[in-house]
Symmetry: D2
Subunit: 367 residues, 4 copies
């Protein structure tokens, strides 16, 4: 931390800052320039907020932080990339509980878990909301056939208006479990409240913190003490730094299975639903060792763009993508405009392996 004194700061004011820096647990280090004096607060054990508050002390112009405030999420803590495994616990015993599928069928679907953050990208697909058993099972089988690795589907829905469809709740969770048992695809679904954490943990292999709850700190603290992986979406107005600090809540609380997910931010341009910040995926991977996914459905809100931005997400280094798929998007109870139908999803999946275009003249001999 640097305390930047104003031009006319007195010796007494500078001494006060030096003393306060010591009280806050740092060593003060004074640099006197021709015009102004700066005082650095050096060391790692001090209380940062006490230095920040010095911005209103007499004779202080401003206070500047120079080190990043996060720890466990940072690559400085762990240079190698972390891998999060989803669904490794999907065993026969586990499935026998709330599942309605016969044990022997389950046996065959048993999974070793999906590794997010490894050399291959993971594709999560499914409807925005679970609307009915038929809708979900059809979607789950379709996305499985097309190559998806995990299933998504909302049971509890965060909706801007109270008059919109709010999700089927526990009924949706049961349908998701049935779909998981049929397809072997681990399930991720959103948790909106601390009170739902236990129930949802029973049914889902991964819990999603939605964008609007990224700074629901009570929820983050609750999720920090469960044993399930968390998909932490970036808030619509969260900086990358705030997003990583939200992850730090999970990590410092004890949950070390965190996957970040960029899903677009709010900007002045309303031509698309959000501004999909793909460079932030690259930045988050530079700053953190945890996996980072991307959500082209919310990122653009536009069916026709999902194929190319999915490819871009892979190009920029995303460890996976999450795509909304619905058997009939124009009849979806939520997010229809950004959902793919099953044949569109298959076509997007095929497009993921196509090569990037060549540079003009790259093949030709150069003069």
């Amino acid at each position: 931390m640097i305390v930047n004194m104003s031009d006319g700061a007195t010796e007494q004011q500078i001494d006060h800052i030096i003393q306060r820096i010591r009280e806050a647990g740092f060593q003060p280090h004074v640099t006197r320039g021709t015009e102004r004096t700066i005082v650095a607060a050096v060391g790692s054990g001090g209380r940062r907020h006490e230095i920040e508050a010095l911005s209103v002390a007499p004779g202080v112009d401003n206070v500047v932080a120079i080190a990043q405030p996060f720890k466990l999420v940072s690559r400085q803590t762990r240079p190698e990339r972390s891998v999060v495994v989803v669904g490794a616990e999907m065993t026969r015993t586990d499935l026998a509980g709330p599942s309605t599928v016969a044990a022997n069928a389950v046996g065959k679907k048993r999974s070793a878990g999906i590794r997010i953050g490894g050399p291959e990208v993971v594709v999560i697909a499914g409807p925005c909301s679970v609307e009915s058993r038929e809708q979900l099972l059809e979607t789950a089988e379709g996305v499985k056939r097309a190559g998806a690795n995990m299933l998504r589907g909302g049971a509890y829905k965060p909706r801007t208006s109270p008059y919109e469809f709010q999700g089927l709740g526990i009924e949706a969770l049961k349908i998701l479990r049935e779909a998981r048992d049929l397809t072997g695809l681990p399930v991720v679904t959103e948790v909106m409240s601390t009170e739902d954490v236990d129930l949802i943990s029973e049914y889902a292999e991964m819990l999603q913190v939605g964008a609007r709850n990224m700074q629901n700190f009570a929820l983050l603290r609750r999720l920090a003490v469960i044993k399930k992986p968390i998909l932490l979406k970036r808030g619509p107005s969260a900086s990358v730094k705030e997003w990583l600090l939200a992850a730090e809540y999970l990590l410092s609380g004890g949950n070390d299975q965190v996957v970040l997910c960029e899903r677009g931010i709010k900007t002045f341009d309303t031509g698309m639903r959000n501004t999909f910040d793909l460079a932030a995926v690259a930045l988050a991977k530079e700053l953190s060792h945890w996996p980072v996914m991307a959500d082209p459905s919310h990122g653009t809100g536009k069916q026709s763009l999902i194929g190319v931005v999915s490819r871009a997400a892979l190009a920029v280094g995303a460890d996976g993508i999450i795509i909304e798929v619905h058997p009939c998007p124009e009849r979806a109870l939520s997010d229809g405009p950004q959902s793919l139908d099953l044949s569109q999803f298959e076509s997007v999946m095929r497009s993921l392996s196509a090569p990037l275009p060549a540079v003009l003249g790259a093949g030709a001999p150069r003069a």
Copy 2:
């Protein structure tokens, strides 16, 4: 809702839209232009999301909503302004519960309640966080003396980093109650989780939904069924429309004591903590009959600007302001840079009644 067909839409595609509009509970109304056809969905009982989802139907260019989606919050429902009364329940019996103050002292402090939304503005003041008994009582008495009408103070704090001060919790609630009993000022404090609603309701006269929880719908639904007034802060990236829809969650769930509070939004300009959207106060009052307050402390994040922007908030029609005050801002555990000390707060209070500057030549006779 208007479904705008694309240029080359076929008759079959138009017929499909007409049929889908009927299925969604609206009457279709077709207008054929020289270049394109539009189909209006007319009526009030239909399912809007089904029309929205038609944006991905074949032959459709886009879908445009023309009516506002909110109801109970709207001035169209109730043209007169609503007044929210805070603290009218502050009787001897109530206070006898968790309070530690002698009953006879309490009797003298008994309040008829603070009316928010009437002809006079309400001033809420107090520290960002309750840090100690001494700090809060000193602040409470100081702001009371300077003319504040209510006391604020955080017990449960939403902090960007898990390593920052998280609030004293129930201990803070008890200190707030003591301060209330001493000063007679009703208390507002933030609730961050559904699990804390009952406890905080016991201690505070008004519950605040913080900016980052504005779209914590589980929390809104829980607060909709309590009998306390709610101070609903606007989210840092919430449009005025989304803010009013968050209020609609409270209202449609049964809580009809809602006060809105503008506290600044996130924009590209980081020269101040937020961009204080004072015109949004005026717009919210135009659209809604509920009271609207303003928070110049978070709105600017800058001690030196709080006086003038408080005056601007009054000028623009705010029903009240909420200001952070701390006995020694440079030692505050949170929000020091934007807190006033007690003498600065007194000076801001005095400035509120000063007249606006005159227009050049307005007093002079005109040619």
Copy 3:
């Protein structure tokens, strides 16, 4: 400037930075912490960009600027507030040139100039575009009667689409001159191109740099060498700092008659035309000694809000306001939705002198 070395920076890398800081004309000052080393570049004569570029030197984490980059615009240069006088040159001789009004009539209208930045606020009013002689003269006389101090009107219009009305050009300038002669109100009009500077300077008492040209540096450099006051609107995505640096272009080039004007910025909320950043008016006045005006018409884009936000602009310390007025807004060729008609403008002018609402209980004796 502070060069913040990364955790594992070597001695050699630190030495390289020390040497580069010397080459750039600063003194290096090293502070070694337990975890990292910072090197301050001290002094005022050095080349800042060379220090900024060190952010890509080996072993450097980042570079932080601690001093503001502006000079002539800053209150540190001049603590007293500057006043800009508009129209003092409006003498008989001047008017005899391009004016079409008889000299004796002109004699009576002669002005001592409008002082912007003094104790009283200045009101500029008039149509977005000059559309016809009748429209402008009617507006000019109306706003004069209601108490406006200056006349605005666009001759060259920056329009988002080439198919929109682009202004009457020189014909509009002549009509503005005629209106000035009839009413005595000095004229401000926008200049969009270096090529129009001479012509417009002949006709207008003040030249406006529109928001979209705030960083048209060729235009700023050209306007820096004329003898007319400039109204410099803030760009829709300019920070306050960038806005002040645009003013610095005018000042460092020789024009010392600069009036800043906040007119709203672009944010995610499209419920109003712009987000009117009234706190930025206060911040600009804190940082700069030059006058700062506000434009509630563009700031909100909404006729019904202009009255209250004008009052808020005065409350926050604006030295004046600029309001769009049209005899019949619904027939305006541009900006109709945000224009007042003459009777609405009169009513806004009257509202400017009304007192702010009182604080609840402020008149009553306190317990």
Copy 4:
């Protein structure tokens, strides 16, 4: 255009709107709902702004545009993609003019032109500013060797502060010409003012409109009548729609060689220089038939991210990328932090042809 009447609109008010729609050159079409009435303005020959202005007519709630306002830029005008050829005019005679290179050398470098918008992507590279002959020639030869197709370099620089390096002007143009003659790479350079258009047109094969000049309409109108291709950068706060309308200025004025270039927008997140809006590249290509490029240097402002976001630009469909390269970024007079050195650029060029990562399990047989 749809005029949406308010709830209590009278018959007289509706009749007034109907009449005004006719006056504006459209056919009115009335739809009466149970709650409100809407009036569509049908047809293509009318004056849109007259309908927009009706938002302030009595009884009107709001006015909604349903068709896009652009024409020549739109894919609806021309479904096939347009190709812009740069540098086809680079013949011996042309070069004989201001060039200092011997004619016979020139003969060998002669180019058939670079096709932007074809199946292969184009790479433009070079320094932010031309700083010296040595710096530019070294860079030009280096980027040519690494596979770049065109050379960039600033002669006239738009700088936020007047105290920053402003470019070498005509001297830089001459150096660019020399570099072109040596390497055969066509040159693109920024034009900031109408007054420089002729001079720069003599020296450069393509003229760039910088982001801050995207809505410098005087400049756009001037560039519309020259015979050189234009690289039109998106403004930092321009929506895709506004960007396309800026292109419409060029096209409607007669210049049909327009290449769009996304370079990042300003948002609340300042962790990178801009928010690189890669999805906007895809959207612009969906809406327009003109080529769209991307600028990862300004898009991120961060050397270390340029490789991956360049790949993402290709993935999303960009017709080319433009990258800042400097022999020694830490000594660059501008944009050092976002410039690659020559070996980094080579490495980025090589990375462009690497395949995208595979989907987990995509190669394996599916259960």
